[in-house]
């Protein structure tokens, strides 16, 4: 068996005539932070959606812990241990922070419709445990004091944190973060970097789509560059920074030539 933790093989996704993801093959070893960068419209979020099951690829394979997970529904993918956050935070606005996190515990709950309606002892003992776990997660994130706050009342930076906390509540092995630093100020971004490193140290592999280059270069073990759906470079941050092709797509031909000469 292939011992690669997570792998995509020759993924293709078209939207009409647009080749949004073109033959993308990526390997992510366990315990790494891998960043996916690229200009706007490079297909980064589409690539994420293909992994999370929101979109299905027309061609190619996705393997997770040696198992094929191509074209599975999002809740199945989540059940296998892949959690995600969204580019624009998608909290359950009318629910409290605690309830948001507890929805993240849904996968670990075993009682069905009937057991819930009858409020059987196993249901409420599970519920109590889920609440305790959610509170523990909030404590880790320093969000305990706003546990009973309605999610939509929280400032933006905090909503981001809650979304990450919520996805961690599913106990994932692989976490997909879609532009976690978008809209954060430099202090919040620094805290975010520490948080992502801490998540990695807990043994959770991270795949991060990000525009903030300082964040990407600081935390990631490896970087993938996508442009117009094609993977054009892959390697450690230092190599990527000097890659003429990457510089060309970001800054234009002139800069690339200057650096090469």
């Amino acid at each position: 068996m292939d011992n690669t933790f997570f792998e995509t093989k020759n993924l293709h996704r078209f939207f009409g005539g647009l080749h949004a993801v073109n033959n993308v093959s990526v390997k992510v070893p366990q315990g790494q932070i891998k960043a996916v960068i690229g200009p706007n419209g490079a297909g980064k979020t589409t690539f994420f959606n293909l992994i999370a099951g929101t979109l299905w690829p027309q061609e190619g394979e996705i393997l997770f812990r040696g198992k094929k997970i191509t074209a599975q529904k999002p809740h199945v993918v989540a059940g296998l241990g892949i959690a995600r956050t969204f580019q624009t935070t998608r909290l359950f606005g009318q629910m409290t922070i605690l309830e948001n996190i507890m929805v993240g515990r849904h996968l670990r709950m075993r009682s069905g419709f009937l057991a819930c309606m009858l409020n059987l002892p196993q249901t409420w003992s599970q519920d109590r445990e889920s609440k305790a776990r959610a509170l523990a997660i909030l404590r880790d994130f320093g969000l305990l004091e706003c546990a009973h706050e309605t999610a939509s009342n929280l400032p933006f930076g905090r909503q981001r944190l809650v979304e990450i906390a919520r996805s961690l509540a599913t106990e994932p092995a692989l976490l997909l973060l879609d532009e976690p630093a978008a809209g954060l100020n430099i202090y919040e971004t620094k805290e975010l970097a520490e948080l992502i490193l801490k998540i990695r140290d807990q043994g959770i592999t991270c795949l991060v789509v990000e525009h903030d280059m300082s964040l990407v270069m600081n935390i990631s073990d490896e970087v993938i560059v996508l442009d117009q759906g094609v993977k054009i470079a892959e390697g450690p941050p230092r190599t990527i920074q000097r890659d003429p092709e990457v510089i060309r797509i970001y800054l234009g031909d002139d800069h690339a030539q200057n650096i090469e000469s």
Binding site: P74, F92, H106, C116, L118, D127, S167
Partner: protein
């Protein structure tokens, strides 16, 4: 969690008993009949509240499910099988207690399915139809789901109106009472009035308990999360399709139960129960009740149906409910009796009294 959520249940139960005592002391027991009927209609509203308010799925076809329950029960308990008495299948059903012999008001002997057997068949048929309809339409969103359920309601209405077996425009009358246990029966006749008031309320309060437990559980949270952001809920491992389908079927079953009991109580059911305006009425009541507010839905379900049954709205009955729906959508699209509003009013009042 905790038992605080059951306090309103106890308060409601006490109010129900108190109301009955007050009405019997003042000699106004005739109100009990309409309250009993309202309680059965309120069942439909509770089920629809779970579906609409919590899971966020509109249904403009709930009168259809009410009718499937009521009509199935009515057909099975009134069909006269006396000619087939010697048929081995009927005899076998008789030995299982599924058919009973009784005498209708004209003194005619009737051999028909027992109400319990009819109830089981009606609930089974409802779940079957709800699953079939749900599987095909529950992935639709917003207006599309509303249109699809509206179509379902219209189909049921035309079937009821057109089919001989459902009595066409006359409906089915002569439905026998439903003997639940010794001495207890769902029966609209005068001596059974108080008894039936309590039977209806036991049904309502039991359904409320089940509904409260459900929305307080992880499935309830999952339903609300689907309502607020389906994609995020899905990505967290919530099987959104199954949750929505189960809630749809559950709410259809509750509506059917209301239909079954009210049909036995009234002794009849007619096509007026199946009109689209009835479905719209249920939606309007859930909206006035505050959408995701079971107690608001119950309160409004009892109040508005009671007023309607008392004839307060006169011949403008349907117009009133239509107007209520439009008014809510324009002025308070989140619903009227909302919990956050109550909290805001309470905190405002407490500030006033302190300051």
């Amino acid at each position: 969690m905790g038992f605080r959520k059951y306090i309103p249940v106890i308060v409601t139960a006490l109010m129900v008993v108190g109301l009955q005592i007050v009405l019997s002391l003042t000699g106004a027991t005739y109100y009990l009949t309409q309250i009993t009927m309202s309680a059965y209609y309120a069942l439909v509203v509770i089920g629809l509240c779970l579906l609409m308010g919590y899971a966020g799925q509109v249904s403009l076809g709930h009168a259809g499910f009410f009718a499937i329950g009521g009509y199935t029960s009515a057909v099975l308990t009134t069909c006269n099988l006396i000619a087939y008495r010697d048929n081995s299948l009927i005899a076998w059903c008789g030995s299982l207690g599924l058919v009973t012999q009784w005498t209708d008001i004209y003194g005619k002997d009737i051999l028909s399915f027992s109400p319990w057997a009819a109830l089981a068949a009606a609930l089974l048929l409802t779940s079957l139809i709800a699953v079939l309809i749900g599987v095909s339409i529950i992935h639709l969103k917003g207006h599309y789901l509303a249109m699809a359920t509206l179509g379902f309601g219209l189909i049921i209405y035309r079937i009821v109106l057109g089919a001989q077996i459902f009595g066409q425009a006359d409906g089915i009358s002569n439905v026998p009472p439903f003997g639940l246990f010794d001495g207890l029966q769902v029966n609209g006749r005068l001596p059974f009035r108080t008894q039936n008031y309590y039977i209806a309320w036991v049904m309502v309060i039991t359904t409320m308990m089940l509904a409260i437990n459900l929305i307080d559980s992880h499935i309830g949270r999952a339903l609300r999360s689907i309502h607020q952001n389906e994609e995020a809920a899905h990505s967290l491992g919530v099987n959104t399709y199954r949750c929505k389908l189960f809630t749809f079927v559950l709410s259809a079953l509750i509506a059917a139960a209301g239909g079954i009991f009210l049909t036995h109580y009234n002794g009849s059911i007619g096509p007026s129960e199946v009109t689209v305006m009835k479905s719209i009425r249920y939606v309007a009541i859930v909206a006035v009740g505050g959408m995701a507010n079971l107690w608001g839905a119950l309160f409004m379900g009892i109040l508005l149906n009671f007023l309607s049954l008392r004839g307060v709205f006169g011949s403008y009955d349907d117009a009133v409910f239509g107007a209520i729906l439009i008014g809510i959508m324009l002025l308070a699209p989140q619903g009227l009796l909302r919990k956050p509003d109550f909290r805001a009013v309470l905190s405002f009042l407490s500030k006033r009294s302190h300051g």
